[in-house]
Symmetry: C2
Subunit: 180 residues, 2 copies
């Protein structure tokens, strides 16, 4: 999949942070001209659609500084370097919701913002949920609350923009389609 490839001539690292690294790359376009590409590098993430035994979806509400508001999302989290996404998915599910998954199924992976970022989200469905007795602790800068909602309630949350991100919108549509 190298159609219309843009070859890198030079890459300048502008910023290396805790979450993202920013580079500006000089590239040669398919027509031979030069252009600059601003690229945000991200370690990748997992997201989980957790379905309870009574057919509800488990969401987390958290403040998203980038949006300057709190939104309702399916549980998700960044991959540690070299981490198996399925291991990460179980960890994030437990940390954020207090649920373990009897059954964890991989659905698909997608880039979230291919125009400027390399972030990939690996999406899982978690079923046969059980409460973890000793709940794992969240990261020290993480504050979340849990919402369990039916598909209809989730669709209302999309309508009124409490749910407002791509992975969660996808998750709700997927759950509806698969009659969870």
């Amino acid at each position: 999949m190298k159609k219309f490839e843009e070859k890198t001539v030079h890459s300048t690292e502008i910023f290396k942070g805790k979450v993202v690294t920013l580079t500006v790359d000089d590239v040669i376009l398919p027509n031979g001209k030069e252009a600059k590409r601003e690229i945000v590098h991200h370690p990748g993430a997992v997201a989980i659609i957790p379905i309870t035994r009574d057919g509800k979806i488990v969401f987390v509400e958290q403040y998203r500084k980038a949006l300057e508001r709190s939104i309702v999302e399916i549980p998700a989290g960044k991959l540690e370097p070299g981490e198996d996404p399925a291991v990460c998915a179980r960890r994030e599910l437990e940390e954020e919701t207090g649920y373990g998954a009897g059954e964890l199924t991989y659905l698909l992976s997608f880039a979230t913002s291919p125009g400027f970022a390399n972030e990939i989200i690996h999406l899982y469905v978690a079923k046969d949920l059980y409460k973890i007795e000793e709940k794992r602790t969240l990261d020290e800068d993480e504050f979340v609350s849990i919402i369990e909602a039916t598909i209809e309630e989730a669709e209302e949350m999309i309508e009124n923009r409490q749910i407002y991100d791509a992975k969660t919108a996808y998750g709700v549509l997927w759950a509806k389609m698969n009659k969870m």
Copy 2:
């Protein structure tokens, strides 16, 4: 929606580019502690699910430098400052596919990467498509080719990762659910 609000104490602009601006913000967490947030600022975008009269979806294939490969996506593009998303949607559809839309319907908006970016995509469905006689020109650094595919073909492209981004995965699922 200010639950768990993180108040900004100071914001440092690290980079201001053509597409993104990067800031690092010092914030006060709900527990009173300080933390840093790396935020990518983006002007926002539109994406369009174009459905032909014979029920196919119109995709564009393009090279995505961030992913170092070409992927197949629904048409999309960045908003100009102050631009009405519906106007932008018609422009991008015409530029990228050569189709005009007899009917353009707003579906929903979502943040693509709320953990580190403020990009919002406004998603539309375009129907009653007609060929534009004088096709608009693409941006000078844009190279795309057009693929018209049935839902089944699109699902295969998700399976083999030719389709590999969130807005397009959502678009295909939406089209399937609505039996396009």
